[in-house]
């Protein structure tokens, strides 16, 4: 029975909470137990933001993720802060455009994705979060690719539905990134 704890962390504005929402909505579609908990308050305006997501086959206890199975680090301060928290045997996904150092841990699988650069090249500069999400799906299978469009359509607000395709493209790019 899987009980997967995900921590997504980065600067405010990098779409940390949104990436968590996509996973939560998709998890719900897959009939999993879900919790999504954002950091909140003024730090969301340009400071660091993080988001705890739990996707599970059994009821979710505490929604606070302090020892993630999966860490998605979108900036250096977040990687510095949370690298040691990742459970042994877990995963770290690192935006290598913004985080130049390598992981210290050797007991976790670490994936380096130049997500910010890829997003710029794809002309979707705000969607590094979705590129990271694509890679997470590929490597961990925590949620499935099938049916992602529907989940995404629910996550994207009504006024941003025109960005649905761009989001899907970014997820695809991350999913297919070999590195």
């Amino acid at each position: 029975m899987a009980y997967t704890q995900i921590l997504i962390a980065g600067f405010g504005g990098q779409g940390v909470l949104f990436a968590g929402k996509v996973m939560a909505y998709k998890g719900l579609e897959e009939l999993k137990q879900i919790s999504w908990l954002p950091s909140y308050g003024p730090e969301m305006r340009g400071g660091t933001a993080n988001c705890s997501v739990i996707i599970s086959d059994t009821p979710v206890g505490s929604p606070i993720v302090s020892e993630p199975d999966i860490l998605i680090a979108m900036n250096l301060p977040s990687f510095d802060k949370y690298e040691n928290a990742v459970k042994a045997g877990g995963y770290a996904f690192v935006d290598s455009t913004l985080i130049e150092r390598k992981a210290v841990r050797t007991d976790i699988s670490v994936h380096y994705i130049p997500a910010t650069k890829m997003a710029r090249d794809l002309e979707v500069p705000t969607l590094a979060n979705m590129i990271m999400t694509g890679k997470v799906i590929r490597e961990t299978g925590v949620i499935k690719m099938e049916g992602l469009r529907d989940a995404l359509a629910k996550t994207v607000s009504a006024k941003h539905q025109d960005l649905l395709e761009a989001n899907l493209r970014a997820i695809d790019a991350g999913y297919n990134y070999k590195g």
């Binding site: 137990q33 908990l37 308050g41 206890g61 505490s62 929604p63 606070i64």
Partner: protein, 353 residues
């Protein structure tokens, strides 16, 4: 009905609307502002009232006005704002008016912080405002309960003609979980012949009032109210028991603290320690009997709180000093980790309280 993902705060707002509440008054404060934002969006579309009041004090008195008219009304705030509402809450209680007050707690005292807390336990369960009175206090531990207990709070308030409070915290308010939303009702299930809706020249005038200058009369009013409270205590206690049948160590926790405690209890069980949880869902009335019953078989209790030891007093009163009660807490916006609670359980298992 299909489950939807919703923030706890939004679930409160939607559930209130589905419970027939058409009047919401509030004032912005973190971490509950989503409730006001949701109401601002929805109320105008369904012929309801959303009004951003000039202060918390005005907001609760607007609620008092709507409640006087016999309609379902609510206000929401977070700790410092709820302090400001205490005057109005005392008047609601003293005038026997049903209404819902939501407190999505943050750290205190004073301006405190904006991170989750449970340190308004005393304020919510022991009065808060002046005078002898109680609120029905409900403590949700999930987004589903944010919705369900909002409806329950309105129903109980109407049934017993008293204000009720949903005592949540920043975590449950901000988190998203799947929720099955309650059925729509118009909230008119309980007759309110006392409401001031205009006499239509057909009856004596109704008066909504808490002033009784003759002490004998005021005493009678208080005694009558406490007779009603006794019925609430007999009929409306709600709690969840988790792995308590064979428990040696009984954790007592509500809201987010109960969620964390469940993780710790699972971990303790893996280590062979028989731990269990009593989770009060009503904080007033408090599940006194459940605690007293547990006291007959457990080694001791642990009160897990996001406060400096408030609920622990009620646990001690309930178990009658038969067994030791330890406190495991974080405050100021910090949340105990499952490991901290597990450590407290292990200590208790060794007989250290």
């Amino acid at each position: 009905m299909a489950k939807v993902l919703m923030k706890g705060n939004e679930a409160i707002a939607e559930a209130a609307i589905r419970a027939g509440c058409r009047h919401y008054f509030g004032y912005p404060i973190t971490p509950q502002t989503e409730i006001a934002a949701y109401m601002a969006k929805r109320m105008p579309k369904i012929g309801g009232t959303f009004l951003q009041a000039e202060s918390e004090i005005s907001a609760i008195n607007m609620v008092y006005g709507v409640a006087s008219a016999g309609r379902r009304a609510m206000t929401s705030s977070s700790s410092p704002g709820v302090s400001l509402k205490q005057e109005g809450i005392s008047y609601l209680a003293g005038s026997d008016l049903p209404a819902l007050i939501v407190n999505v707690q943050r750290g205190g005292p004073g301006l405190g912080g904006i991170q989750p807390s449970q340190s308004d336990y005393f304020q919510a369960t022991k009065g808060g405002g002046h005078g002898d009175y109680h609120l029905i206090v409900l403590a949700p531990a999930s987004v589903q309960e944010m919705a369900d207990l909002t409806v329950k709070a309105f129903d109980l308030a109407d049934k017993y003609r008293m204000p009720s409070m949903l005592l949540a915290d920043g975590t449950i308010g901000q988190m998203m979980e799947p929720v099955e939303l309650p059925e729509e009702t118009d909230g008119s299930g309980v007759e309110k012949p006392w409401a001031v809706t205009g006499t239509e020249n057909k009856r004596e005038h109704n008066i909504i009032n808490s002033l009784y200058l003759v002490p004998e009369q005021l005493e009678v009013k208080n005694l009558e109210r406490y007779e009603r409270y006794k019925i609430v205590e007999q009929n409306e206690v709600m709690y969840e028991e988790y792995m308590t049948e064979d428990a040696d160590i009984c954790v007592v926790a509500f809201g987010i603290a109960a969620r964390v405690s469940k993780n710790a209890i699972t971990a303790a069980r893996e280590k062979g320690i028989k731990a269990g949880l009593i989770r009060p869902i009503t904080l007033w009335p408090f599940p006194t009997e459940a605690i007293a019953k547990a006291a007959e078989k457990v080694k001791g209790f642990i009160s897990v709180e996001l406060s400096m030891g408030q609920m622990i007093d009620d646990i001690k009163l309930a178990e009658g000093c038969k067994k030791p009660v330890a406190l495991c807490s974080r405050v100021g916006g910090m949340i105990p980790s499952p490991e901290q609670v597990l450590a407290a359980i292990e200590k208790a298992e060794r007989g250290e309280f």
